[in-house]
Symmetry: D2
Subunit: 115 residues, 4 copies
Protein backbone atom coordinates (compact mmCIF):
# COMPACT_ATOMS: atom_id res chain seq x y z
CA UNK A 1 0.00 0.00 0.00
CA UNK A 2 1.42 3.40 -0.93
CA UNK A 3 1.84 6.30 1.48
CA UNK A 4 -1.13 8.35 0.22
CA UNK A 5 -3.48 5.40 0.55
CA UNK A 6 -2.14 4.68 4.03
CA UNK A 7 -2.78 8.27 5.14
CA UNK A 8 -6.21 8.40 3.52
CA UNK A 9 -7.13 5.31 5.56
CA UNK A 10 -5.80 6.92 8.77
CA UNK A 11 -7.91 10.02 8.12
CA UNK A 12 -11.06 8.00 7.42
CA UNK A 13 -10.38 5.84 10.45
CA UNK A 14 -9.94 8.95 12.64
CA UNK A 15 -13.24 10.28 11.30
CA UNK A 16 -15.21 7.06 11.69
CA UNK A 17 -14.04 6.52 15.27
CA UNK A 18 -15.60 9.92 16.06
CA UNK A 19 -18.74 9.27 13.97
CA UNK A 20 -18.09 12.47 11.98
CA UNK A 21 -19.06 11.15 8.54
CA UNK A 22 -22.52 12.68 9.12
CA UNK A 23 -20.96 16.18 8.94
CA UNK A 24 -18.71 15.49 5.95
CA UNK A 25 -20.77 16.56 2.96
CA UNK A 26 -18.72 18.03 0.08
CA UNK A 27 -19.88 21.60 0.73
CA UNK A 28 -18.83 21.62 4.40
CA UNK A 29 -15.51 19.98 3.56
CA UNK A 30 -14.85 22.68 0.92
CA UNK A 31 -15.77 25.31 3.55
CA UNK A 32 -13.28 23.71 5.95
CA UNK A 33 -10.60 23.70 3.27
CA UNK A 34 -11.11 27.46 2.86
CA UNK A 35 -10.95 28.08 6.60
CA UNK A 36 -7.71 26.11 6.91
CA UNK A 37 -6.20 27.81 3.85
CA UNK A 38 -6.99 31.11 5.61
CA UNK A 39 -5.26 29.94 8.80
CA UNK A 40 -2.20 28.95 6.76
CA UNK A 41 -2.16 32.38 5.13
CA UNK A 42 -2.43 33.96 8.58
CA UNK A 43 1.08 32.61 9.34
CA UNK A 44 2.37 35.00 6.64
CA UNK A 45 0.05 37.99 7.37
CA UNK A 46 1.99 41.30 7.55
CA UNK A 47 5.28 39.42 7.05
CA UNK A 48 7.92 40.16 4.43
CA UNK A 49 9.67 37.34 2.57
CA UNK A 50 12.63 37.88 4.86
CA UNK A 51 10.45 37.64 8.01
CA UNK A 52 9.01 34.38 6.67
CA UNK A 53 12.47 32.89 6.13
CA UNK A 54 13.26 33.66 9.77
CA UNK A 55 9.97 32.15 10.98
CA UNK A 56 10.69 28.97 9.03
CA UNK A 57 13.98 28.59 10.89
CA UNK A 58 12.31 29.22 14.27
CA UNK A 59 10.16 27.08 16.54
CA UNK A 60 7.07 28.50 14.78
CA UNK A 61 7.87 26.32 11.78
CA UNK A 62 5.82 23.47 13.21
CA UNK A 63 2.66 25.56 13.41
CA UNK A 64 2.99 26.35 9.69
CA UNK A 65 3.48 22.66 8.94
CA UNK A 66 0.39 21.90 11.00
CA UNK A 67 -1.69 24.33 8.93
CA UNK A 68 -0.39 22.69 5.74
CA UNK A 69 -1.44 19.33 7.20
CA UNK A 70 -4.94 20.68 7.97
CA UNK A 71 -5.38 21.83 4.36
CA UNK A 72 -4.16 18.44 3.10
CA UNK A 73 -6.47 16.64 5.51
CA UNK A 74 -9.59 18.29 4.04
CA UNK A 75 -8.32 17.92 0.49
CA UNK A 76 -7.93 14.17 1.03
CA UNK A 77 -11.35 13.97 2.73
CA UNK A 78 -12.95 15.80 -0.20
CA UNK A 79 -11.35 13.47 -2.75
CA UNK A 80 -12.50 10.51 -0.67
CA UNK A 81 -16.07 11.86 -0.51
CA UNK A 82 -16.25 12.67 -4.24
CA UNK A 83 -14.46 9.44 -5.22
CA UNK A 84 -11.75 11.46 -6.95
CA UNK A 85 -8.23 10.15 -7.51
CA UNK A 86 -6.15 13.16 -6.49
CA UNK A 87 -3.07 12.19 -8.51
CA UNK A 88 -5.09 11.53 -11.68
CA UNK A 89 -6.82 14.92 -11.58
CA UNK A 90 -3.57 16.78 -10.86
CA UNK A 91 -1.84 15.07 -13.79
CA UNK A 92 -4.73 15.85 -16.10
CA UNK A 93 -4.71 19.50 -14.95
CA UNK A 94 -0.97 19.83 -15.61
CA UNK A 95 -1.63 18.73 -19.20
CA UNK A 96 -4.45 21.29 -19.49
CA UNK A 97 -2.20 24.01 -18.07
CA UNK A 98 0.46 23.23 -20.67
CA UNK A 99 -2.10 24.17 -23.33
CA UNK A 100 -3.45 27.16 -21.36
CA UNK A 101 0.02 28.58 -20.65
CA UNK A 102 2.28 27.84 -23.65
CA UNK A 103 5.95 28.34 -22.75
CA UNK A 104 6.70 30.81 -25.53
CA UNK A 105 3.88 33.14 -24.45
CA UNK A 106 4.17 32.97 -20.66
CA UNK A 107 7.89 32.51 -19.96
CA UNK A 108 8.86 34.88 -17.17
CA UNK A 109 5.42 36.48 -17.01
CA UNK A 110 2.99 36.46 -14.06
CA UNK A 111 0.09 37.35 -16.35
CA UNK A 112 -3.01 35.18 -16.41
CA UNK A 113 -4.04 33.32 -19.59
CA UNK A 114 -6.94 35.74 -20.06
CA UNK A 115 -5.01 38.95 -19.38
Amino acid sequence: MDRYEEIRKSIINFRDERDWKQFHNPKDIAISLNIEAGELLECFQWKSNHDIEEILKSSKRESIEDEIADVANYLILLCNELDVNLFDVVERKIEKNKVKYPVDKFKGSSKKYNE
Copy 2:
Protein backbone atom coordinates in the same frame (compact mmCIF):
# COMPACT_ATOMS: atom_id res chain seq x y z
CA MET B 1 9.73 6.72 -7.76
CA ASP B 2 6.28 7.01 -6.14
CA ARG B 3 3.34 8.84 -7.65
CA TYR B 4 3.54 11.94 -5.42
CA GLU B 5 7.22 12.44 -6.22
CA GLU B 6 6.52 11.98 -9.93
CA ILE B 7 3.80 14.65 -9.83
CA ARG B 8 5.90 17.02 -7.75
CA LYS B 9 8.59 16.79 -10.41
CA SER B 10 6.05 17.45 -13.20
CA ILE B 11 4.82 20.55 -11.34
CA ILE B 12 8.35 21.87 -10.78
CA ASN B 13 9.25 21.10 -14.37
CA PHE B 14 6.14 22.95 -15.61
CA ARG B 15 7.14 25.92 -13.45
CA ASP B 16 10.79 25.99 -14.44
CA GLU B 17 10.01 25.80 -18.18
CA ARG B 18 8.05 29.03 -17.69
CA ASP B 19 10.65 30.63 -15.40
CA TRP B 20 8.03 31.17 -12.72
CA LYS B 21 10.16 30.30 -9.68
CA GLN B 22 10.81 34.03 -9.25
CA PHE B 23 7.10 34.52 -8.30
CA HIS B 24 6.85 31.47 -6.04
CA ASN B 25 7.64 32.82 -2.60
CA PRO B 26 5.74 31.09 0.25
CA LYS B 27 3.40 34.04 0.84
CA ASP B 28 2.22 34.27 -2.77
CA ILE B 29 1.79 30.49 -2.97
CA ALA B 30 -0.35 30.58 0.19
CA ILE B 31 -2.36 33.43 -1.38
CA SER B 32 -2.85 31.30 -4.49
CA LEU B 33 -3.95 28.34 -2.39
CA ASN B 34 -6.63 30.56 -0.83
CA ILE B 35 -7.81 31.83 -4.21
CA GLU B 36 -8.10 28.29 -5.57
CA ALA B 37 -9.85 27.06 -2.43
CA GLY B 38 -12.36 29.88 -3.01
CA GLU B 39 -12.88 28.81 -6.63
CA LEU B 40 -13.49 25.24 -5.47
CA LEU B 41 -16.04 26.49 -2.94
CA GLU B 42 -17.70 28.52 -5.69
CA CYS B 43 -18.72 25.22 -7.35
CA PHE B 44 -20.96 24.61 -4.32
CA GLN B 45 -22.18 28.20 -3.77
CA TRP B 46 -25.98 28.40 -3.30
CA LYS B 47 -26.24 24.64 -3.88
CA SER B 48 -27.96 22.12 -1.61
CA ASN B 49 -26.38 18.74 -0.93
CA HIS B 50 -28.85 17.26 -3.40
CA ASP B 51 -27.91 19.81 -6.10
CA ILE B 52 -24.25 18.92 -5.55
CA GLU B 53 -24.91 15.20 -6.01
CA GLU B 54 -26.55 16.00 -9.35
CA ILE B 55 -23.65 18.25 -10.42
CA LEU B 56 -21.19 15.47 -9.59
CA LYS B 57 -23.03 13.15 -11.98
CA SER B 58 -23.11 15.81 -14.73
CA SER B 59 -20.51 17.10 -17.17
CA LYS B 60 -19.64 19.82 -14.62
CA ARG B 61 -17.85 17.20 -12.53
CA GLU B 62 -14.62 17.80 -14.39
CA SER B 63 -14.55 21.50 -13.48
CA ILE B 64 -14.79 20.55 -9.78
CA GLU B 65 -11.98 18.04 -10.23
CA ASP B 66 -9.92 20.77 -11.91
CA GLU B 67 -10.39 23.08 -8.93
CA ILE B 68 -9.31 20.28 -6.59
CA ALA B 69 -6.22 19.85 -8.78
CA ASP B 70 -5.45 23.57 -8.57
CA VAL B 71 -5.57 23.48 -4.76
CA ALA B 72 -3.33 20.39 -4.74
CA ASN B 73 -0.94 22.04 -7.18
CA TYR B 74 -0.28 24.97 -4.83
CA LEU B 75 -0.14 22.73 -1.78
CA ILE B 76 2.58 20.65 -3.44
CA LEU B 77 4.42 23.82 -4.57
CA LEU B 78 4.30 25.20 -1.04
CA CYS B 79 5.68 21.97 0.45
CA ASN B 80 8.40 22.00 -2.20
CA GLU B 81 9.29 25.62 -1.39
CA LEU B 82 9.33 25.09 2.39
CA ASP B 83 11.07 21.72 2.11
CA VAL B 84 8.17 20.05 3.91
CA ASN B 85 7.33 16.37 3.50
CA LEU B 86 3.55 16.51 3.09
CA PHE B 87 2.91 12.96 4.24
CA ASP B 88 5.08 13.34 7.35
CA VAL B 89 3.30 16.49 8.52
CA VAL B 90 -0.16 15.03 7.87
CA GLU B 91 0.69 11.91 9.86
CA ARG B 92 2.06 13.99 12.74
CA LYS B 93 -1.08 16.16 12.69
CA ILE B 94 -3.37 13.11 12.82
CA GLU B 95 -1.54 12.05 15.99
CA LYS B 96 -1.97 15.56 17.47
CA ASN B 97 -5.67 15.54 16.55
CA LYS B 98 -6.15 12.24 18.38
CA VAL B 99 -5.04 14.02 21.56
CA LYS B 100 -7.00 17.20 20.77
CA TYR B 101 -10.22 15.34 19.98
CA PRO B 102 -10.45 12.26 22.23
CA VAL B 103 -13.08 9.79 20.96
CA ASP B 104 -15.08 9.66 24.20
CA LYS B 105 -15.53 13.44 24.28
CA PHE B 106 -16.12 14.21 20.60
CA LYS B 107 -17.98 11.18 19.24
CA GLY B 108 -20.90 12.39 17.13
CA SER B 109 -20.24 16.05 17.98
CA SER B 110 -19.31 18.87 15.57
CA LYS B 111 -18.02 21.00 18.44
CA LYS B 112 -14.51 22.38 18.33
CA TYR B 113 -11.93 21.34 20.93
CA ASN B 114 -12.17 24.80 22.53
CA GLU B 115 -15.98 25.06 22.54
Copy 3:
Protein backbone atom coordinates in the same frame (compact mmCIF):
# COMPACT_ATOMS: atom_id res chain seq x y z
CA MET C 1 -20.10 64.05 9.57
CA ASP C 2 -21.87 60.82 8.65
CA ARG C 3 -21.50 57.53 10.51
CA TYR C 4 -19.26 55.83 7.93
CA GLU C 5 -16.83 58.75 7.91
CA GLU C 6 -16.82 58.83 11.71
CA ILE C 7 -15.94 55.11 11.87
CA ARG C 8 -13.33 55.39 9.14
CA LYS C 9 -11.64 58.08 11.22
CA SER C 10 -11.76 55.91 14.36
CA ILE C 11 -10.14 53.04 12.46
CA ILE C 12 -7.39 55.25 11.05
CA ASN C 13 -6.86 56.81 14.45
CA PHE C 14 -6.60 53.36 16.06
CA ARG C 15 -4.05 52.39 13.42
CA ASP C 16 -1.96 55.54 13.63
CA GLU C 17 -1.75 55.41 17.43
CA ARG C 18 -0.10 51.98 17.00
CA ASP C 19 2.07 53.08 14.07
CA TRP C 20 0.66 50.28 11.93
CA LYS C 21 0.38 52.19 8.65
CA GLN C 22 3.76 50.70 7.66
CA PHE C 23 2.13 47.24 7.44
CA HIS C 24 -1.03 48.37 5.65
CA ASN C 25 -0.20 47.93 1.98
CA PRO C 26 -3.19 46.93 -0.19
CA LYS C 27 -2.01 43.32 -0.63
CA ASP C 28 -1.67 42.63 3.10
CA ILE C 29 -5.02 44.28 3.81
CA ALA C 30 -6.66 42.07 1.15
CA ILE C 31 -4.95 39.05 2.77
CA SER C 32 -6.36 40.13 6.15
CA LEU C 33 -9.83 40.52 4.66
CA ASN C 34 -9.61 36.91 3.44
CA ILE C 35 -8.44 35.64 6.81
CA GLU C 36 -11.29 37.42 8.61
CA ALA C 37 -13.85 36.22 6.05
CA GLY C 38 -12.60 32.70 6.80
CA GLU C 39 -13.02 33.24 10.55
CA LEU C 40 -16.57 34.47 9.95
CA LEU C 41 -17.32 31.38 7.87
CA GLU C 42 -15.88 29.22 10.65
CA CYS C 43 -18.82 30.30 12.85
CA PHE C 44 -21.07 28.39 10.43
CA GLN C 45 -18.76 25.41 9.73
CA TRP C 46 -20.59 22.03 10.02
CA LYS C 47 -23.78 23.88 11.07
CA SER C 48 -27.23 23.50 9.49
CA ASN C 49 -29.41 26.53 8.88
CA HIS C 50 -31.39 25.51 11.95
CA ASP C 51 -28.22 25.27 14.10
CA ILE C 52 -27.26 28.76 12.93
CA GLU C 53 -30.62 30.21 13.94
CA GLU C 54 -30.07 28.80 17.43
CA ILE C 55 -26.52 30.17 17.61
CA LEU C 56 -27.79 33.62 16.63
CA LYS C 57 -30.17 33.57 19.60
CA SER C 58 -27.42 32.41 21.98
CA SER C 59 -24.52 34.19 23.67
CA LYS C 60 -22.33 33.19 20.69
CA ARG C 61 -24.07 35.85 18.61
CA GLU C 62 -21.56 38.47 19.69
CA SER C 63 -18.61 36.47 18.37
CA ILE C 64 -20.28 36.33 14.94
CA GLU C 65 -20.89 40.09 15.09
CA ASP C 66 -17.22 40.57 15.99
CA GLU C 67 -16.11 38.61 12.92
CA ILE C 68 -18.41 40.74 10.76
CA ALA C 69 -16.79 43.82 12.29
CA ASP C 70 -13.31 42.47 11.51
CA VAL C 71 -14.23 41.99 7.86
CA ALA C 72 -15.71 45.51 7.73
CA ASN C 73 -12.63 46.93 9.42
CA TYR C 74 -10.31 45.68 6.67
CA LEU C 75 -12.75 46.62 3.93
CA ILE C 76 -12.79 50.19 5.23
CA LEU C 77 -9.00 50.20 5.59
CA LEU C 78 -8.61 48.97 2.01
CA CYS C 79 -10.94 51.67 0.66
CA ASN C 80 -9.02 54.24 2.68
CA GLU C 81 -5.68 52.99 1.30
CA LEU C 82 -6.88 52.86 -2.33
CA ASP C 83 -8.79 56.14 -2.02
CA VAL C 84 -12.02 54.38 -2.98
CA ASN C 85 -15.46 55.66 -2.00
CA LEU C 86 -17.14 52.44 -0.85
CA PHE C 87 -20.68 53.65 -1.43
CA ASP C 88 -19.92 54.91 -4.94
CA VAL C 89 -18.38 51.62 -6.06
CA VAL C 90 -21.21 49.55 -4.57
CA GLU C 91 -23.82 51.69 -6.33
CA ARG C 92 -21.97 51.42 -9.63
CA LYS C 93 -21.70 47.63 -9.20
CA ILE C 94 -25.44 47.30 -8.53
CA GLU C 95 -26.06 49.03 -11.87
CA LYS C 96 -23.63 46.65 -13.61
CA ASN C 97 -25.29 43.65 -11.96
CA LYS C 98 -28.69 44.79 -13.26
CA VAL C 99 -27.28 44.41 -16.78
CA LYS C 100 -25.42 41.17 -15.98
CA TYR C 101 -28.44 39.54 -14.34
CA PRO C 102 -31.60 40.70 -16.14
CA VAL C 103 -34.72 39.93 -14.09
CA ASP C 104 -36.49 37.95 -16.80
CA LYS C 105 -33.56 35.57 -17.23
CA PHE C 106 -32.46 35.08 -13.61
CA LYS C 107 -35.66 35.28 -11.57
CA GLY C 108 -35.65 32.40 -9.07
CA SER C 109 -32.43 30.94 -10.45
CA SER C 110 -29.10 30.51 -8.61
CA LYS C 111 -27.25 30.12 -11.89
CA LYS C 112 -24.31 32.39 -12.69
CA TYR C 113 -24.43 34.80 -15.61
CA ASN C 114 -21.96 32.60 -17.52
CA GLU C 115 -23.64 29.25 -16.77
Copy 4:
Protein backbone atom coordinates in the same frame (compact mmCIF):
# COMPACT_ATOMS: atom_id res chain seq x y z
CA MET D 1 -32.20 58.47 4.78
CA ASP D 2 -28.43 58.01 4.98
CA ARG D 3 -26.26 56.59 2.23
CA TYR D 4 -25.76 53.14 3.82
CA GLU D 5 -29.49 52.66 4.32
CA GLU D 6 -30.14 53.78 0.75
CA ILE D 7 -27.66 51.23 -0.61
CA ARG D 8 -28.94 48.46 1.64
CA LYS D 9 -32.41 49.07 0.19
CA SER D 10 -31.05 48.98 -3.38
CA ILE D 11 -29.35 45.65 -2.67
CA ILE D 12 -32.48 44.13 -1.12
CA ASN D 13 -34.57 45.48 -3.97
CA PHE D 14 -32.18 43.97 -6.52
CA ARG D 15 -32.43 40.65 -4.72
CA ASP D 16 -36.20 40.65 -4.34
CA GLU D 17 -36.80 41.49 -7.99
CA ARG D 18 -34.89 38.29 -8.82
CA ASP D 19 -36.57 36.25 -6.09
CA TRP D 20 -33.16 35.33 -4.64
CA LYS D 21 -34.04 35.58 -0.94
CA GLN D 22 -34.60 31.81 -0.99
CA PHE D 23 -30.83 31.30 -1.52
CA HIS D 24 -29.68 33.91 1.00
CA ASN D 25 -29.23 31.96 4.21
CA PRO D 26 -26.38 33.24 6.44
CA LYS D 27 -24.09 30.31 5.63
CA ASP D 28 -24.29 30.75 1.85
CA ILE D 29 -23.83 34.52 2.18
CA ALA D 30 -20.70 33.94 4.30
CA ILE D 31 -19.48 31.49 1.64
CA SER D 32 -20.07 34.15 -1.01
CA LEU D 33 -18.19 36.73 1.04
CA ASN D 34 -15.20 34.36 1.11
CA ILE D 35 -15.37 33.73 -2.62
CA GLU D 36 -15.47 37.46 -3.37
CA ALA D 37 -12.65 38.19 -0.89
CA GLY D 38 -10.63 35.59 -2.81
CA GLU D 39 -11.40 37.29 -6.13
CA LEU D 40 -10.30 40.62 -4.66
CA LEU D 41 -7.06 39.03 -3.47
CA GLU D 42 -6.56 37.57 -6.96
CA CYS D 43 -6.10 41.15 -8.26
CA PHE D 44 -2.91 41.30 -6.17
CA GLN D 45 -1.68 37.69 -6.74
CA TRP D 46 2.02 37.52 -7.71
CA LYS D 47 2.18 41.35 -7.67
CA SER D 48 4.68 43.49 -5.76
CA ASN D 49 3.56 46.65 -3.98
CA HIS D 50 5.03 48.59 -6.87
CA ASP D 51 3.10 46.54 -9.46
CA ILE D 52 -0.08 47.21 -7.50
CA GLU D 53 0.49 50.96 -7.49
CA GLU D 54 0.80 50.80 -11.28
CA ILE D 55 -2.36 48.69 -11.61
CA LEU D 56 -4.27 51.20 -9.50
CA LYS D 57 -3.33 53.96 -11.94
CA SER D 58 -4.32 51.82 -14.96
CA SER D 59 -7.68 50.89 -16.49
CA LYS D 60 -7.67 47.73 -14.30
CA ARG D 61 -8.50 49.90 -11.29
CA GLU D 62 -12.21 49.53 -11.94
CA SER D 63 -12.05 45.73 -11.73
CA ILE D 64 -10.48 46.03 -8.27
CA GLU D 65 -13.19 48.48 -7.22
CA ASP D 66 -15.80 46.03 -8.51
CA GLU D 67 -14.37 43.25 -6.34
CA ILE D 68 -14.45 45.56 -3.33
CA ALA D 69 -18.09 46.27 -4.14
CA ASP D 70 -18.86 42.54 -4.33
CA VAL D 71 -17.39 41.98 -0.87
CA ALA D 72 -19.37 44.95 0.50
CA ASN D 73 -22.53 43.66 -1.17
CA TYR D 74 -22.40 40.34 0.71
CA LEU D 75 -21.35 42.01 3.95
CA ILE D 76 -24.43 44.25 3.76
CA LEU D 77 -26.64 41.28 2.83
CA LEU D 78 -25.31 39.30 5.79
CA CYS D 79 -25.96 42.18 8.21
CA ASN D 80 -29.43 42.52 6.76
CA GLU D 81 -30.11 38.79 7.17
CA LEU D 82 -28.78 38.64 10.76
CA ASP D 83 -30.39 41.95 11.72
CA VAL D 84 -26.99 43.38 12.61
CA ASN D 85 -26.22 47.10 12.56
CA LEU D 86 -22.84 47.14 10.81
CA PHE D 87 -21.71 50.47 12.26
CA ASP D 88 -22.63 49.49 15.83
CA VAL D 89 -20.66 46.23 15.70
CA VAL D 90 -17.62 47.90 14.13
CA GLU D 91 -17.60 50.58 16.82
CA ARG D 92 -17.90 48.00 19.57
CA LYS D 93 -15.07 45.97 18.02
CA ILE D 94 -12.79 49.02 17.87
CA GLU D 95 -13.33 49.44 21.61
CA LYS D 96 -12.51 45.75 22.19
CA ASN D 97 -9.39 46.05 20.02
CA LYS D 98 -8.19 49.00 22.11
CA VAL D 99 -8.12 46.65 25.11
CA LYS D 100 -6.68 43.71 23.12
CA TYR D 101 -3.91 45.80 21.57
CA PRO D 102 -2.77 48.43 24.11
CA VAL D 103 -0.70 51.16 22.42
CA ASP D 104 2.33 50.79 24.69
CA LYS D 105 2.65 47.07 23.94
CA PHE D 106 1.87 46.98 20.22
CA LYS D 107 3.21 50.26 18.84
CA GLY D 108 5.13 49.52 15.65
CA SER D 109 4.72 45.76 16.01
CA SER D 110 2.88 43.39 13.64
CA LYS D 111 2.63 40.73 16.35
CA LYS D 112 -0.75 39.28 17.28
CA TYR D 113 -2.16 39.76 20.79
CA ASN D 114 -1.49 36.07 21.55
CA GLU D 115 2.05 35.93 20.13
